[in-house]
């Protein structure tokens, strides 16, 4: 099946920047991001709130308003440039080529429209099919997202369903026209852990069945660990580390990635284990700090980090890139950490926070 597809990657993003004009100045929400995604693969985008991960996925989808947004760079879907397209022209792509699942299944569904209608609307907008056929398709879609009694559900309203069921409906709507690329923006953050596992399994299942590529946006490295082929870690609007999943977890180079991973509570740790935290907050994107954007919060920080921004450099493993002068696990990194510990230096943000 893959052989029948045209060659080249499905999605190519080159030097994409998205800046918002605000009363305070230009907010550099996404700054020079490049990435590619092959058919059927999953890219995990990981970062804190304010890292620009959501804006990035919406920029690629071309979902941002035109006014007050400054964009540059290129987004190619199967070789076609889509960044300059108007909303009207994008309608050919939305739903049919690329679809999105949002964090909050309640607000992304229309509360006063029956579920069946919401799905058939999406179908009939893109496919020239009869109402009858659309209804049948909707029912089979609901069955495919493992909703019990799909026929009865078609006539219900979103508020009659649980959060997990609503997210399944959103997935069904996103899948309705067979997109090649699915954006899942924190699809399980609003859900219970048990339901999260169900929903992620479901998405993975559908993805494999439809040979669909996916961008999975999340703040939790644990969510993408077993499910993404490669992971891009974002910080302050930039990709700070990008690697195949196995490489990233086995050999992470960026102190930020290390800190994100360390802050997850682990089941095999004893209770009352003090969690590692990242002090401070992401930087002001209007006046970002010079040098490495993570330097004010970094345990490895050295003089060079605050003066000079590290470029995205390739690591030893193929496909591994990171932005750091003193990477984790390297002699320079170890030396930097040891020196900071020896001299009692802590990151600026930690010192500010520790004013007590």
């Amino acid at each position: 099946m893959a052989a029948a597809q045209p060659s080249g990657p499905l999605l190519e993003v080159a030097d994409l920047s998205t800046h918002f004009e605000t009363s305070r100045g230009l907010v550099r929400a996404v700054d020079g991001v490049s990435l590619t995604l092959d058919r059927g693969k999953t890219l995990g985008i990981v970062g804190e709130s304010g890292s620009g991960k959501t804006v990035l996925s919406r920029s690629i989808m071309n979902l941002l308003p035109k006014r007050g947004v400054v964009r540059s760079g290129s987004v190619r879907l199967e070789g076609n440039e889509i960044l300059p397209l108007s909303a009207k022209e994008m309608r050919r792509y939305w739903g049919a080529q690329m679809a999105m699942i949002f964090q909050d299944p309640m607000t992304s569904l229309n509360p006063v429209m029956k579920i069946g209608k919401q799905i058939t609307e999406a179908v009939r907008q893109h496919l020239d099919v009869t109402r009858q056929y659309a209804n049948e398709l909707a029912e089979s879609l609901l069955a495919s997202v493992r909703i019990p009694e799909p026929h009865a559900r078609l006539k219900e309203y979103p508020h009659q369903l649980s959060g997990g069921m609503r997210q399944r409906i959103c997935i069904a709507i996103a899948l309705a026209c067979g997109p090649k690329l699915l954006f899942a923006d924190e699809p399980t953050t609003a859900l219970d852990v048990t339901v999260q596992a169900q929903v992620l399994d479901l998405i993975a299942h559908q993805q494999a069945e439809r040979f669909m590529a996916m961008v999975l946006v999340t703040h939790d490295l644990g969510v993408v660990a077993g499910r993404a082929d490669e992971i891009a870690v974002m910080y302050a609007g930039r990709i700070v580390e990008h690697a195949p999943t196995g490489v990233l977890f086995a050999n992470m180079k960026m102190p930020y990635t290390e800190a994100l991973l360390a802050s997850i509570p682990k089941l095999d740790e004893h209770s009352h284990t003090r969690l590692a935290t990242i002090p401070g907050r992401p930087p002001d994107l209007v006046i970002p700090p010079p040098g490495c954007k993570f330097a004010p919060r970094c345990r490895y920080v050295q003089e060079r980090c605050v003066q000079e921004e590290p470029p995205l450099t390739a690591g030893a493993a193929p496909g591994h890139e990171f932005r750091c002068w003193f990477p984790v696990g390297t002699p320079e990194g170890n030396e930097a950490l040891a020196r900071n510990e020896r001299e009692g230096r802590v990151p600026q943000a930690a010192a500010l926070a520790g004013h007590a």
Partner: protein, 357 residues
């Protein structure tokens, strides 16, 4: 999933909070039907201890927390706090107890008044009870804001100017300002990023030491609950499943549902592929017509006929580990949630429509 037992309650007067056979129901319509939110929960929390309550949405864990606060008062059962029976108190007498019993909520947006300044929000408890003069109150607010890692100089700002994590810090400051003995934390980190979650969990631990707090910590993520708790109560559909120390729960879960909760936690390790068989299927049944017998039987792979007919009662299966299950897990037993046991679909009498809504 019965748990209508109280064998796990510890003897003696050490318990700061002792809840017995708590029942909370919300009537719906006029047909006499009711949502059985909490159906006979017993728990106790010793002075200085942290009790974790864990379960899925709709299991009644938040309702339990609010019923302890008498907001609203439970339908029946006993809530003894610091030697006082709260359910017997009303009006002014109940109000007098309030500053010693505080609550932190899940939603940092909803739990702070957007119109009021941070300083006013934190000082409110002191103002209500007229604790100290104006200077003393302001000094206390400064101290508490500082303790939660907020710069008191920002006290004149309003909540919307802060991030979710910072708002949660403000909520914590508001809760500790009256120096309560017990704090009920209702999913305090569920709305936060992982990195911020770690900050708040550490902060709660610091506050506990600094102000000598006893904590009831409610969450749906067992990994989070494990980190903060001394003892964990697993709840399902208004009933207790298992009560044990967090390390015991993790080492050898006895209730199939505890096993399911553990299996659902995403592991940040790509070599451990998520195993679909270990993911609990289905949904929580309707609390209006809960299943007979064990309430978990409709999703349980181990369920037998007995589970539909007879409600299991909490019993001690290991030292200090209590489980309400007829067929508890053996050591190291792996359960396959892809199939469901024969006790799942048994209809008993007229009350058999408790399956997935």
């Amino acid at each position: 999933m019965a748990g209508t037992g109280s064998i796990h309650l510890r003897a003696g007067d050490g318990a700061l909070l002792r809840v017995e056979d708590l029942v909370v129901e919300f009537p719906i319509g006029h047909g006499g039907e009711a949502v059985h939110a909490v159906s006979g929960i017993s728990l106790d929390v010793l002075d200085g201890e942290t009790l974790g309550i864990v379960g899925e949405s709709g299991c009644g864990k938040s309702t339990t927390g609010r019923a302890v606060m008498q907001l609203p008062a439970p339908k029946s059962g006993s809530v003894r706090f610091d030697g006082v029976e709260l359910t017997s108190l009303h009006g002014e007498a109940l109000r007098r107890v309030r500053p010693r019993l505080q609550m932190i909520f899940q939603d940092p947006i909803s739990s702070l008044n957007p119109r009021r300044r941070v300083r006013e929000i934190v000082r409110e408890g002191l103002d209500i009870w007229e604790m100290g003069d104006k200077d003393a109150r302001n000094a206390k607010v400064d101290e508490v804001l500082d303790a939660v890692g907020m710069d008191p100089a920002n006290g004149a700002r309003r909540p919307h100017e802060f991030s979710g994590g910072q708002c949660q810090r403000i909520s914590i400051a508001r809760a500790v300002v009256t120096e309560p003995k017990l704090i009920i934390c209702d999913e305090p980190v569920s709305a936060l990023d992982v990195s911020v979650q770690a900050q708040i969990l550490n902060l709660l631990e610091d506050m506990k030491h600094r102000y000598g707090l006893t904590v009831v910590f409610i969450a749906h993520d067992l990994a989070v609950v494990k980190n903060v708790s001394d003892r964990v109560l697993v709840m399902y559909l208004g009933k207790a499943c298992e009560i044990a120390s967090p390390d015991d729960l993790y080492e050898h879960p006895k209730h199939p549902y505890t096993g399911a909760l553990l299996a659902a936690i995403p592991v940040p390790d790509p070599t451990q592929h998520p195993d679909e068989e270990r993911v609990l299927g289905g949904e929580v049944p309707s609390p209006i017509h809960p299943p007979t017998g064990c309430r978990f039987r409709t999703r349980c792979p181990k369920s037998q006929e007995r589970c539909a007919l007879e409600e299991p009662v909490l019993r001690e299966v290991e030292p200090s580990q209590y489980v309400a299950c007829h067929f508890p897990l053996e050591a190291g037993e792996q359960i396959d949630f892809a199939r469901v046991g024969i006790g799942a679909s048994i209809d008993v009498a007229s009350d058999g429509d408790g399956s997935t809504p």
